[in-house]
């Protein structure tokens, strides 16, 4: 499956890429904000996206809206700090399937993405 990573932090991006790249997921793009995410998404058509919420230029909420317009069956895992539950719930209402709280371990992330994909297959 193809994976797009969206996060404004370089450290988080490489952490996610490291944790998921080795697990049957092909990282097809790393985006620093919503704009980059949308253009990378259009080119690479990923199946799974990890999405930060607070980013410059275009935030996660707007980005989720655009991505799902482009491809409604995209699996989106929101990866954000738990500071504002309301925004995270907003993201889920828009169409994200899951939420992972920062900070996370590579194990946490891998399990969350596995659960996300499993849920999409069975449910």
């Amino acid at each position: 499956m193809k994976l797009l990573i969206v996060d404004d932090s370089n450290i988080i991006r490489s952490k996610i890429a490291r944790a998921l790249g080795s697990r049957n997921l092909e990282v097809v793009g790393l985006a620093r904000n919503g704009h980059e995410a949308v253009s990378l998404f259009t080119r690479t058509r990923p199946d799974v996206v990890t999405m930060d919420l607070t980013m410059p230029e275009m935030d996660g909420i707007e980005c989720i809206r655009r991505l799902l317009e482009l491809k409604p069956d995209t699996l989106i895992l929101v990866v954000s700090a738990l500071a504002d539950k309301a925004t995270a719930i907003e993201a889920l209402k828009l169409g994200a399937q899951g939420f992972l709280c920062k900070p996370f371990s590579e194990q946490d992330l891998a399990e969350a993405v596995e659960e996300l994909i499993k849920g999409a297959v069975h449910g």
Partner: protein, 711 residues
């Protein structure tokens, strides 16, 4: 095909249907046979009428004959004969082929064709007799006024046929009756059979299914009891939520306690939240529950967003106030046929856990704060610190009083705010002055609050002071903690600062004449007390010290030696029992500082200061009341030993017990402008440290006085 979803009721429905089929069958047969019996009765009736008609035809024929012989007209009889023959013929045809017949009173009835073999044979024989007979009569009747010969000829035929017809019609009647009786018997048998089957079916339903139903009921009852037992016993609040967020009819007993109400079945969960949590949390909870009822989000991946994970709730306490609790709600999807039908909700009262976590966190922060304080205190001059703490206590008390009396007019409240500001501002300055920057920061925060109140002065009311009271309380705690640290620290200081290493020790000073005199004095005194002692000396030759210390210090040291040997050191056997060497040790250190001052350290490894004995002595001498003595801390008790005429010895002798000595030492040290510190641990040691500044010229006279008084 699953029998239209009848499930376990399939058999009972089939059985009831069979019961109905049996009943219906009996009914239909009953109907069919009854109508046949009716037809049979008609046939019997008609067969009987044929008998009568045959006789009537014969009789009418005979009457015609009579009237014709008498020359009378016979038109009435002719008509009657015509009628009788027509009826007989019509009925006979109907018996053989089926058809309509005129019955009694002119009603037309329908006769079924007779299909009984015996009866058919009778009918055939009847026909054979009847046909010639009918032909003869028909030709007779063709002439309205027949001659006598024609009548006689017909009468002759009638004589031959009449008896035969009567006999045949009798046979027919009997035969039809026999057939009808046979049918009635069949009908009864069918009815009995049908009713028997239906009854058997009913009995089956009654016993078999009732038993099954009762078994099912018992199982249900047991299952319900088990569920009830669980719901009554479980400590968690358990209930189901439907898509409209309504609470199900069943919930655990504990839930009522957790939510503080009992009318929960069917209640709207979101409405219920509305009164006890913030509106924002209500909105988030509704969204979250919607997401769980939807299929899209992954249940396991959204648990951390549960807004009711640990939530602060406020319940009315029925006395106008409210109770704050912390509740934890967990939600799990319950699927029916792959669809989320309900959410199973687990509710817990986690108030104690939350409070414990907070207390732990606070304790941790307090410990850290104390550590910071300790570091700060270490750098502050002890006397300045003591003065500051005393001033701080007074200042905070004043603020507290102002806050307590704030309830008067708005003008009073404004004045109070200004006064509080002034007090706190002063205290903040002092705190930074002595170097307690942490405390100064805390005071500054409170000061900010007060500034806020001052700006609000037009609308100031009593409630505005509430946060100030809370913050002030914290300030009190901080100052208390500081005092605690200082007290503990004062005891530690004596130990950590045992020997100032500022002046070099002269190797042969230990053999200086003055030191020898001290050692001899200690040994002599110990012998008299039945003790052993060793005096170790470090430092400078006392003879090299500046005047007046050179003259006065030997006396001070003698006093310490006397005090140590008489009060401090234990008897050899006691020391051995405590694991100490039999001989007590006295460590004496004397140093001349570069600044011209002198440091003296005197330490013995005896019993240490015995606070209980000091306390007791203070009470006996009326210095403290029993309750005061009980409340007195170690520092104050230790200070008592410097009081004039204070001694813990019960009897005085020439070596100690009169209570003269330490008070004298303190007087001199005060006079020289120096200070004394004491450190002591029970059963381990007692340590005096005297620090004296560079002597001022006018002290010389004082030195002479010491020599005179305390030797």
């Amino acid at each position: 095909m699953r029998f239209f979803g009848l499930g376990k009721y399939r058999v009972i429905v089939l059985t009831v249907a069979m019961f109905l089929v049996f009943d219906l069958g009996v009914l239909v047969l009953n109907f069919v046979i009854s109508s046949q019996i009716a037809a049979d009765a008609l046939a019997v009736n008609m067969a009987g009428r044929q008998r009568m008609l045959s006789q009537r035809a014969a009789k009418t024929l005979w009457q015609i004959n009579e009237r014709t012989v008498a020359g009378q007209p016979a038109s009435g009889e002719m008509a009657e004969l015509t009628e009788a023959v027509a009826l007989f013929d019509e009925t006979l045809t109907a018996f053989r082929q089926g058809g309509s017949v005129r019955g009694g009173a002119g009603v037309v009835v329908t006769l079924d064709r007779i299909d009984d073999a015996e009866a058919i044979a009778i009918l055939q024989r009847t026909n054979a007799v009847w046909e010639p007979y009918r032909a003869r009569i028909t030709s007779l009747l063709a002439n309205p006024a027949p001659d006598i010969d024609a009548v006689r000829s017909a009468l002759d035929v009638a004589r031959g046929a009449n008896l035969e017809l009567l006999k045949l019609m009798n046979e027919l009647t009997s035969q039809v009756e026999v057939t009808a009786a046979a049918k009635a018997t069949t009908l009864r048998a069918v009815q009995i059979g049908g009713i028997t089957l239906a009854t058997a079916n009913f009995v089956l339903i009654l016993f078999h299914f009732l038993r099954k139903l009762r078994q099912g009921d018992a199982l249900l009852e047991q299952a319900k009891k088990e569920t009830d037992d669980i719901l009554v016993t479980v400590n968690e609040g358990l209930f189901l939520l439907d898509r409209n967020f309504r609470i199900g009819s069943q919930h655990s007993h504990a839930l009522e306690g957790i939510l503080g109400r009992s009318d929960l079945g069917g209640a709207d969960f979101v409405d219920l939240l509305r009164g006890i949590v913030t509106e924002k949390t209500v909105g988030m909870s509704r969204d979250y529950l919607d997401l769980l009822f939807g299929e899209r989000v992954n249940e396991k991946l959204v648990g951390s967003l549960n807004p009711l994970d640990v939530v602060e709730v406020h319940f009315d306490d029925q006395r106008g106030g409210f109770v704050t609790k912390y509740l934890e709600f967990r939600f799990n999807r319950v699927r029916e046929g792959g669809v989320v039908a309900h959410l199973l909700v687990t509710a817990n009262d986690v108030t104690k856990r939350v409070q414990l976590e907070r207390a732990l966190k606070e304790a941790h922060e307090r410990a850290k704060g104390q550590m910071d304080l300790l570091v700060e205190v270490l750098q502050v001059e002890p006397d300045a610190l003591r003065d500051f703490l005393a001033a701080a206590a007074v200042c905070l008390d004043k603020v507290n009083t102002l806050l307590r009396e704030r309830t008067a007019s708005a003008a009073d409240r404004r004045e109070a705010v200004i006064a509080i500001y002034r007090l706190l501002h002063g205290l903040k300055g002092d705190a930074s002055g002595v170097g307690l920057s942490g405390l100064a920061e805390s005071i500054h925060e409170v000061e900010d609050l007060v500034v806020g109140l001052r700006e609000k002065h037009a609308t100031l009311d009593g409630n505005d002071f509430l946060p100030l009271t809370v913050r002030l309380e914290r300030l009190f705690t901080q100052v208390d903690a500081l005092r605690g640290v200082v007290n503990r620290f004062a005891q530690i200081r004596g130990v950590v600062a045992v020997e100032p290493a500022r002046a070099a020790t002269e190797p042969d000073a230990a053999q200086a004449p003055q030191v020898r005199r001290w050692r001899e004095f200690a040994t002599r005194l110990a012998e008299k007390q039945g003790k052993h002692v060793q005096l170790h000396y470090h430092g400078v030759d006392p003879a090299t010290l500046a005047s007046p210390y050179r003259e006065a210090l030997p006396t001070v040291v003698n006093q310490f030696i006397r005090n140590a040997v008489v009060h401090g050191l234990e008897k050899p056997e006691q020391r051995l029992a405590q694991g100490k060497p039999a001989a007590g040790n006295i460590a004496l250190y004397l140093a001349a500082r570069e600044d011209g001052g002198v440091d003296l350290s005197f330490r013995d490894d005896g019993a240490g200061l015995q606070l209980a004995a000091i306390r007791q002595a203070a009470i006996e001498r009326g210095l403290l009341s029993a309750s005061e003595a009980e409340a007195c801390d170690a520092r104050r008790l230790v200070e008592l030993i410097f009081r004039p005429a204070f001694s813990t010895r019960s009897s005085a002798d020439e070596d100690g017990g009169r209570g003269v000595g330490l008070d004298v030492i303190r007087n001199y040290v005060n006079e020289w402008g120096g200070n004394i510190r004491i450190g002591s641990t029970p059963r381990e040691y007692c340590h005096f440290r005297i620090s004296l500044p560079r002597p001022s010229p006018q002290l010389s006279a004082g030195a002479a006085r010491i020599n005179g008084e305390a030797a």
